[in-house]
Symmetry: D5
């Protein structure tokens, strides 16, 4: 089941630089991990933003919430979730 | 080059039913065609909406504009275009 | 899997009165049917509005989209879908 | 009398961690208590958010205000209250 | 129990003038009636608008919804309802 | 002359607790005083908010501005002023 | 007493051209009249808009409402009223 | 003196097709004319929109308003005007 | 050439009180100075706000930008600039 | 390929003055450099704002993202990117 997720990060300018570097590295590792698990089939950076557009593939709302809550930068993100359905004209879904 | 496109359709309630059916069918055919051309690698229906989230893959802004202008329902759509960049943690883009 | 759905209806003032009465009656019947199927465990009218707040219980995004598309007043509604997760302090979900 | 309440929590990133843990624990206890009192028949976590959708059942506006003011995290919440009426097509309210 | 209600009227410019006059007169009569019943203790016209700010005094949400639904111009109004509580510094409510 | 005023208070979470208590007490006293002067015929607390809806009765814009500027919590308030006129269907204003 | 008023006109594209010409001419005459009466000391056209920024000088809210209601294009205007006070650094108001 | 102008066109779907074609052709001619006069040094189409971003070079606000009012599609446009100043780091404006 | 300027000031609550007093005094002096120069023919305080509505009279956009940049409180202001044109029904501009 | 970029800078009022001066100087140098490279054919200051309107000319979305990320004040900017296409009535693009 697919969900479109827009994430926008705002790090406080007075955040300790070591804490910042750790968080950014941990976020990167978690993001790679989610891709290897097949949970995050698409992710893009939005041009000009510290923000992403992602598509998650998960079996339930509860699992999506758990994955989003596991992101190290979660506290500094604005997140917007949009449930997706199969498009009636999706070529790969035609009978 | 990838662009995220959100499209929301509003058909006037007094549109002639034949005209409506023709437009919807033409939109469907054009959408399948763009997928076969490789221009429209992803498209989803937004749950509960007469609206789509798509990703276009095009060589330039001018070509994206031409493709969007070619949609039969274009006149009845609100369109929002967001340019995408490669994500620094995209697994498929790692060296 | 639960989804929160806000629906707001706007009927055009020049809609044929018979068509209007038919649509409203059909919407009522479909709403009762969805409740009997167990798909729509909660629905409320928003005070002062021709609008509802509902909770749907469905196995997938695609089925939610199909149920919402089956509403007779769908064409005249603004719909907003919010996926819900179990609350960590929900008494009925405590171990 | 039912009220729909959306609550969104934003904790300042420089809040003392002990204070934070105390507040979160106190909020959890108060939430369980309100459910046991029958005042809070429904609560859900919004997917991807530190935010809830709740339904309160109270005898008056003043009591709703008192319950909301008693939440330990109240100071850090954005709260939106929507009064609910019985839906004309609610199956459980049919004569 | 008090509720603050903002109402804004938009009449379609092509509404039949007789129908318009009837509606406006019926609205006026219903508004006077609600005042005589004690349901509508305050109402003001917003300067420069075809819009009102009112305070309703009703025993429940369901009754408020019924009163609002009974307004002849309801179909042409945007309505916004805000529940009110006693102010802690209200002079008339001091012990 | 009547003015509708919505006030929403946001106190910084790191405000000194003594300063906070002083400000809240001073605000309370000023609010009671304005009522005794007849300047503030109506005030309500908005359910679920640290915010008020008030009606001021003043002879001029300049005096309204002076009264609002005299509120001890003024610095921490968002204020929205709406001028009110006599409603054409106000029962108490009928000839 | 001064009030800042922003007015934005939207004429329906299918309005009868004679009716349109009459309304525009009547609006012009009323606007000149209000200036001669001293009620409308300032008015400007907003660049690129069919919209105005005005300052009204009136003895009360009720009179401002009556003047605004008397505008022939009132039905087709969005109006926003902002009460003004003497500026503490206004050169002409210095003692 | 430079002004940034965003224009978005919405043509009513029931506009007579001949009238539409005439307006679009007249708009095109006027746009070419303004460029030849040197008044419109830059214009672009916004990707995916029936909308433009332009830069006008005019001696005064009044002349800008006159040029914008002369556009044949003016009635169907939403226009947003932003005054521009020389950028302190503009290479061509360095001494 | 006239420009309508709305300015809203937000001073951080932890600003040093001496710095605050200096800035407010400097702003006052600069405001009086601009009026004496004839650059600022109108200024008003918005009722209930720490905000102003002004009209500037300047020969060019660059000069307007320079004047606005010279305001001592500029760093703490939200500024909105709207270019004004002569109104076609301005009595003082009639031939 | 052209992109319209709006940038708005907000520097925290408690930023160290030396750090501020360094950042502003570095931003200036990078801005001149991008112009010399031909990447930034147009840039303007928005009147009354610490904000710019720019047009970038780049071969791809990824390069635009890299250029925007290289701006020394990037952390303190809100950025909005709009892809541009050739205007059908652009005089310089006529055959």
């Amino acid at each position: 089941m697919l969900f479109h997720v827009r994430m926008d990060v705002t790090l406080p300018h007075d955040l300790d630089p070591n804490r910042r570097a750790e968080l950014v590295q941990a976020e990167r590792e978690r993001t790679l991990e989610l891709q290897k698990m097949g949970v995050l089939p698409h992710l893009w950076r939005v041009v000009g933003q510290y923000g992403d557009i992602c598509v998650f593939d998960v079996p339930s709302n509860d699992e999506l919430h758990a994955f989003l809550s596991s992101l190290p930068l979660r506290e500094f993100m604005r997140v917007e979730v949009t449930p997706l359905a199969t498009h009636p004209s999706d070529l790969t879904a035609q009978p």
